[in-house]
Structure formats: structure tokens, C-alpha cells
Subunit: 208 residues, 2 copies
């Protein structure tokens, strides 16, 4: 009969502690993926090759990262954490202190800058199911934040428009604008800016 496992600390249970070998493998795998990416480009980062370069079985890659998108998301983890810290608790204009509208623009500009450096990785991270993009922690945090800023700024329908703005930050659209239509990042930011202006020109008919 399976005896109930004793709970050493019933307080503050996170999403489950990771065993030592698991944590080790996570790092080894991320390192392998990064190396593959740097030396041969994104296309070379297949689950199979990452596993072999890391010296583990494929099953392990999936156990650690769920799927290819999960691996991409993990590779973006540092960038993501930095970004979140910046818009949640960092200095203005991105962080608290600036006017909501200013923060929204800063958020969008910063996101475009992130795409400029890591568009391909973002593209993979958005690849799973059609709705996969909308179902991960990073997306939800961003949406919640944007939605709140839009509310603060007095916009109509913040929930819808938060999703709308984030959809305009999809890697696919960015790559199309950037590398097929040859728009500069500034041009893209300007487009987003005018959209924000439009969004905020309604809602609060006159902010007096």
C-alpha cells in the first residue's frame, strides 16, 4: 500500500520543484539549442539535433519543454523576464510613473525592438496551434498589462484592443513588414503609434 509522502513544508508550494538531474538537463539542452542556433541558424534547431548535441534522448527534450514552441519560449526566457521587469517595475516611460498612453507606446516600441533581435525565435514560439500564441504565460502577462494601461488611458473596450495590439506584434507580420516590404522599425512603430492615437481619441470624449 502506497504510504502518503510526508510534506516537509506545506507552505508556499510553487509549480513543483525540479529534480537535480532534470534541472541539469534543462541547462544542457538550452546551451545546446543556443549553440546550434548561433552556428547554423534557427533551422538547425530541431528537437532531434538538440537532443543529440546535448547527449540526451529526445524524450527528455519533450519532458523539459513540452514541444518545439516551449523550447523557443524557454530560449526567449531571459529576454522575456527582463521585459516584464521593465514594464512592471522598471523606470518610466516603460514602467510605472509615466502616463498610461506614454507607457503603451513605450511597450509597443520595446516589443518591436525585441522582434528586431529575435524575430525568428518569436516566430517559432508562435507556431504551435492556431491559438497557441494566445495561451502562454508571457502572452497573458502582456495582455493583462496592456489591457490595464488601456483602461487607465480611458480607451473603449480595453480587453479587445489589448489582443488587437498584441496581434499586431506577431512575428509573422513583423517579418513581412521588415523583410518583404522593407519597412524600418521606426516606420512600424509609427504605424502602431497612429493606431494608438486613434484608439485613445475616442472613449474619453474630452479629458477635462
Amino acid at each position: 500500500m502506497p504510504r502518503p509522502r510526508h510534506q516537509p513544508l506545506p507552505l508556499a508550494d510553487g509549480p513543483a520543484p525540479e529534480r537535480a538531474d532534470a534541472a541539469r538537463n534543462r541547462e544542457v539542452l538550452l546551451a545546446a539549442a543556443r549553440q546550434l542556433m548561433l552556428s547554423e541558424g534557427i533551422c538547425a534547431v530541431s528537437m532531434d539535433r538538440v537532443a543529440r548535441l546535448a547527449g540526451v534522448g529526445i524524450g527528455t527534450v519533450y519532458r523539459r519543454f513540452t514541444d518545439r514552441c516551449g523550447l523557443a519560449l524557454a530560449l526567449l526566457g531571459d529576454s522575456e523576464r527582463q521585459f516584464q521587469a521593465a514594464f512592471l517595475t522598471g523606470p518610466p516611460p516603460l514602467g510605472p510613473g509615466a502616463a498610461p498612453e506614454t507607457r503603451i507606446r513605450a511597450f509597443l516600441h520595446c516589443y518591436i525592438d525585441r522582434l528586431e533581435t529575435d524575430a525568428e525565435l518569436h516566430a517559432i514560439a508562435e507556431t504551435s496551434s492556431p491559438t497557441g500564441r494566445y495561451n502562454n504565460g508571457a502572452y497573458r502577462t502582456a495582455r493583462t498589462h496592456l489591457s490595464w494601461l488601456l483602461t487607465e488611458a480611458g480607451a473603449q473596450d480595453p480587453a479587445y484592443h489589448a489582443d488587437a495590439l498584441l496581434t499586431l506584434l506577431s512575428a509573422g507580420l513583423f517579418q513581412h513588414h521588415r523583410h518583404e516590404l522593407h519597412l524600418s522599425p521606426e516606420r512600424i512603430k509609427a504605424g502602431l503609434d497612429s493606431l494608438v492615437t486613434g484608439l485613445l481619441s475616442q472613449g474619453t470624449p474630452s479629458p477635462n
Copy 2:
């Protein structure tokens, strides 16, 4: 020595005439794909099964439709042609005759209705490369049209905002809104409408 082929009619050369067996196979394959879709759902529509049900080799499917997205696009062909006819030459509010702003809204609403009936097929059609969605005839026609309407309506930066609006009509976002957030089609249309209002509230400062 290869003798030069005689040209029967040097006038009006289309994108290349399709040989009889090729045209026949195209129809057989589309029928097979439709049947599979109706009887077992979109997931059952794999290139392999379509080929077998049609009684041809897989190579033929690829020769006729290039890839899976091409097949999906072909399945949407009728709907697409109807839609194009409607907004290019049909009656108002979608076609010529109504005010540009009215036509823009009608365009978006109509697109949402199309997604409501064929979201899954659209999702597959948007699946190829990250930028695949932006590189097919249907997309380009829609973009040109929207861009022109935006110009007529006096919007700023019509080129950018045409892409923006079309990106908000992606199947992935629609499915997320519709089936995960449980928004009604009307709710989605309202969101798009308020965006359009914002877009057009600038540009022409006062249309007098």
C-alpha cells in the same frame, strides 16, 4: 536536336494552360478533400489520405497544389471568388456606391462571417511560413482593396493599416476570441468597428 515548338496562338498567354489529365485530377482531388473534411473533419485532410481517396499518387497532390496551404486555399477558392466579386463589383454596402468608411466596415464584417463558417480552413491556409499568409493572391487583393478604401476615407498611412486590419482577421485570433474567450461574432465586429472609428478620426482633421 530539340526542334522549337510551334506557337499556335502567340496572343493572350495566361498563367499556362492546364493539361486535360491535370485538370481532371485537380477536380478529383478537391472532391476527395471536401468529402474527407465533411465526413471526418479537417484533421483527416492529410495530403496522404486525399491522394489515396482520389486514387492518385501523393506527388500529384503536390504538383497541383504546391503544399498543404495551397490545397486549403483551393478549397476556399469558391468562397474567395465570391467575396472578391462582392467587394469589387457587387452592390453596396460592400461594393462600389457606399461611402469608403461604410465599405471598410462591411468588408470586415463580411470577413468575420467567412471565418465563422471556415475558420479551420483559413487557419490551415495561414500555416505555411510565418510570412506565408501575406504572400498569396487572395491576401494581396484584399490588402490593395482595403488600402485604397482607407485612402479614400482619408486615413493616415493606409498601407500600414490595411495590413493591420487584415492581421486582425487572422484565423488564429478569431478562434481565440470566438472559442476560448467566447466572444460573439458581433462583439468581434464591434471591436473592429471601434478600431476603424479611431483610424478615421485622425487623418482628415475635419472633413469640411
